[in-house]
C-alpha cells in the first residue's frame, strides 16, 4: 500500500524554484532517504508533505489524503520531526506530550500510556521532573521524536533526525528509527548524512537544486553511478605469469605486485571461474572480495553535477 505519493510536486518562492517536479512513492514498510546538500529542497519537500507549505504545482497524497484539500487529515496521519526540535522550554516532558497528544484528539489515558512507554524506550523517564530547557541537545531531539511518534502515525517525516547529536545519541536515534520500521508505516528521512541514509533507507532519492537526480536502492545507486562491482584478487606469490590463467573475458583494471582488480558484471558466475582457474594453476589465493565503494562516492558524483535527471550519466 502506497502511503506517500507525489506527482510533479513543485514549489516556487518568487523566482526561486525550491522543489522542481518531484514525483515519489513510498509504500508501507518502506524507508526513503531524501539525500542532498543544504538548500537542495529537502525541507521544502517534507514541509509540503506535512501540509505546511502549499505546492505551487503538482500534488501530494498522504494515506490518500491530498495535502491541499485535506490538510487536517494529512496532519493527523503524519508524525513530523522538524529540523529544529522546537520544544517549549518551560514545560516538562509529560505536559509537553500531553499538549501534542490533545491536538491529535488522543484520550488522556492513551497519552499517558504512550508517553510513558516512549519516554522509557528513549531513556527519558529519569528526566521527567526537569524542565525541557534543562535537557541536553540529544535529549531534546529524542523528546521531539517521541512527540512525532505519540499518536502512532502511519507516515513519519524526519527532517535531519540526528543533527546536533553526539555519536552515542545519534546511534540510539538511528537504532530507534530502524525499530520504527513497520509493515504499516512509511518513513521519509531527510538527511545529508550519507552513513545514516545508507544505514536506514530502503531507497535513496538524491535531490539537487530541487530535482530528484537519482532514486534507487543504495546498492543499485552504486551500481548505476559507479559502474559494476569491482573485485580484488590477492594471491600469495607475485602476479607475474598468473595472468594467463585468468578467464579470457576478465580484464584487470588495476594491478599491484600480488593483487589485481577487475569489474564483474555477474560476480556469482565470474568469481567461481576465477577461483577454479587459480586452483587449476596451483596459485595460492589469499582473498577474493568485492572492493567497498561508499555512498559518498555516489553522492559526490551526483551532487558534483555529473548526473542529469533521474541518474542519467
Amino acid at each position: 500500500m502506497c502511503l506517500i505519493e507525489t506527482f510533479d510536486l513543485t514549489k516556487q518562492f518568487g523566482e526561486l524554484v525550491a522543489v522542481d517536479n518531484v514525483s515519489l512513492r513510498v509504500g508501507a514498510g518502506e524507508v526513503l532517504a531524501l539525500l542532498g546538500p543544504n538548500g537542495a529542497g529537502k525541507t521544502t519537500t517534507i514541509r509540503m508533505l506535512a501540509s505546511i507549505l502549499r505546492p505551487t504545482h503538482g500534488r501530494a497524497l498522504i494515506k490518500g489524503f491530498d495535502t491541499v484539500e485535506d490538510p487536517i487529515e494529512v496532519r493527523r496521519s503524519i508524525g513530523f520531526l522538524t529540523e529544529h526540535h522546537g520544544l517549549y522550554t518551560r514545560m516538562r516532558s509529560q505536559e509537553y506530550l500531553e499538549f501534542f497528544g490533545k491536538t491529535h484528539n488522543l484520550a488522556a489515558s492513551t497519552i499517558e500510556q504512550r508517553s510513558n512507554d516512549l519516554l522509557d524506550r528513549y531513556g527519558l523517564s529519569d528526566a521527567r521532573d526537569l524542565r525541557l530547557g534543562q535537557f541536553s541537545k540529544g535529549m531534546r531531539q529524542k523528546l521531539a521524536l517521541v512527540r512525532a511518534l505519540l499518536h502512532d502515525p502511519a507516515v513519519l517525516l524526519l527532517d535531519e533526525p540526528t543533527s546536533a547529536m553526539d555519536p552515542a545519541s545519534a546511534h540510539l536515534v538511528r537504532e530507534s528509527i530502524r525499530n520504527l520500521r513497520s509493515s504499516k508505516r512509511a518513513i521519509v528521512v531527510c538527511t545529508h548524512n550519507l552513513y545514516e541514509a545508507e544505514e536506514l533507507a530502503d531507497s535513496i532519492a538524491i535531490i539537487r537544486k530541487g530535482q530528484i537526480i537519482a532514486h534507487d536502492t543504495p546498492t543499485m545507486l552504486k551500481r548505476r553511478l559507479l559502474g559494476e562491482p569491482v573485485m580484488e584478487l590477492r594471491i600469495v606469490d607475485r602476479l607475474d605469469g598468473v595472468l594467463k590463467y585468468l578467464p579470457s573475458e576478465l580484464e584487470p583494471i588495476e594491478m599491484g605486485e600480488n593483487w589485481l582488480r577487475y569489474r564483474a558484471s555477474d560476480p556469482d558466475r565470474v568469481n567461481p571461474s576465477v577461483l577454479h582457474a587459480m586452483t587449476q594453476a596451483g596459485v595460492q589465493v589469499i582473498t577474493l572480495s568485492e572492493v567497498e565503494r561508499s555512498l559518498e562516492d555516489v553522492y559526490l558524483q551526483v551532487v558534483g553535477g555529473n548526473v542529469g535527471s533521474e541518474g542519467e550519466l
Partner: protein, 480 residues
Amino acid sequence: MIVAIDKTLGTLNGTMIVARREIRDHLRDWRILTPIIILTLFFPMLMNFTAQQAMDFVTRYGAPIIGERLVPFLLMIVGFFPISISLVIALESFAGERERLSLEPLLATPLTDGQLYLGKMIASLVPPLSAAYLGIFVYLVGLILKTGWRPEPQLLFQILALTTVQAIVMVSGAVVISSQTTSVRAANLLASFIIVPVAELIILESMVMFWGRYHVLWWIVLVLVLIALALSRMGLRLFNREELLGNEFDTIDLRWALRKFIVTFTGGATTLIEWYRDLFTRSLPLIKVAALLTFGLFYLAYSVGYRSAGTFTLPAEFVDIEQYGKGLESQFRYFGLFTGQTWRWIVFNNVRALALATLLGAFTLGVLAEILLMVPIGIIGYFAGNVALAGGDKIKFLTALVLPHAVLEIPMAVLSCATILRLGLAVLSVPKGESLSEGWIKALGEWARIGLGLVLPLLLAAAAIEVFITPRVAMSLLGG
C-alpha cells in the same frame, strides 16, 4: 444541527488546547507575572491613595466636581494598565514562537488555522484581563472602605466593557502584526500602529470622563467592538501557515510589487478594446457591492443634508431661485465659468479631492473617503431643503444647477468611492492563500484601472459640462 454543534465544540476544544498551554506558559514567565502582580495589587492601592488625596485637596478649594470626575477616571486607568501587557504577550505570540523555532511543530499538528489564531488571541487576553478585573476590584474595595464612594452600576459596567474591548482591540491588532512579522523586534517596531491610536483613544476617553458625558462611552465601546471584529477577521484572513515560516515579510520587493500591479492593471489585455472589455466584465463586477453601498450612503448624505435645512434654515431670500435669474450670466462670468481656465481648475480640484480621499480611505478601511465625498452631496441636499422650505421648486433648482454635470459626476464619485472602499477593505478581505501586500496591490491595481479607464474621463467630461453647459441650462431655466 448536531453536526454544526459538534464542529463548533471541536473548534472550541482545539482553541482551548492552544490557549491553555500558552496561558500556563505565560504564568511561568516572571517577566510577565511581575508587572501583572504589581499592576493588579500595588497600582490600585496607589490609585486609591491618589484619589483620596485628590478628593480631599479639591474639596478644600470648593471644586469637588474635579474629584468626582477623577475617581471614575482612575477606575478606567486601573483597568487599562494591566491590559497594556496583553500587547506585549500578543506581539510575541507568533513572532516569538518563530524565533524560538517552536512554531513548525505546532503548525504540523491537526489544529486548524482558526484554532491556532484564536487560541493565541485568548491566551494573550486572559492573564492581563483577569489582572485588570482584579485591579478594578482592589481599587473599588479600597475606595468603598476608605471613602464610601460607590460607582453607578452603569458606570462600572461601562468601565468593564471598555477595558475588555480595548484589550480585544489591542490583542487582535497585535496578533495580526505578530503573524505578519518574522521577529519580535520587527513586531515591536510595528507596535506603534497600535500604541499611538490607543494612546489617543485613552486621551479621548479621559476627556469624555472629565466632561461627564458617560453615555458617549457606549459609542466608544460600540466602535471598538466593530474595530475588534474587523481586526479579528483581518487576522484570520491573513493567517497563513506558509508565510509564518517564510522570510518574505521582511523584504520589500518593489519589482515584485510593480509586476503584480501591472498584471492587475493591464488584465493581460493587448489592445485598448480588450482592456476596456476586461474592465467592464471583470473589474466593475468586483466593486458592485461597494458601489451600491456608496450610492446608499450618498443618498443618506443627501437626506441628512435636506433634513438639516429644517434645523439650520437659511434666510428665504438667500435661496429664492426665482431671484437668481437677475444677473445670473454676469455672476457666472464673475466666477470664471465658460473658460478653459476654470475647467482646468475644477479638474485639478476634483483630482486633488479624489487623491486625498484615496489616501485617507486606504488607511481607514475606506471610511474617511466615503465621509469626504458624502460632504458635498450633503451640502447639495441642505440647499435643496432650504429651497423647498422657502417655497421654491427644488427640482428646478437641482435641474438647473446640479443635474447637467451630476449625470456624470455622481457615477464618477460612486465609482471612485467604491474602488477606494474596496482598496481600504482589501486588508480585511485578502483572498485565502494571498498575502496582505498581494491583496492590497491587486486592489490598488483595480483602483488605478477603474480610475484611469472610467473615473478620469467622467471627471474631465463632468467638469466641461459644469463650466460650459450647466450655466447655460441654469440661465435658460432660471432666466437671465
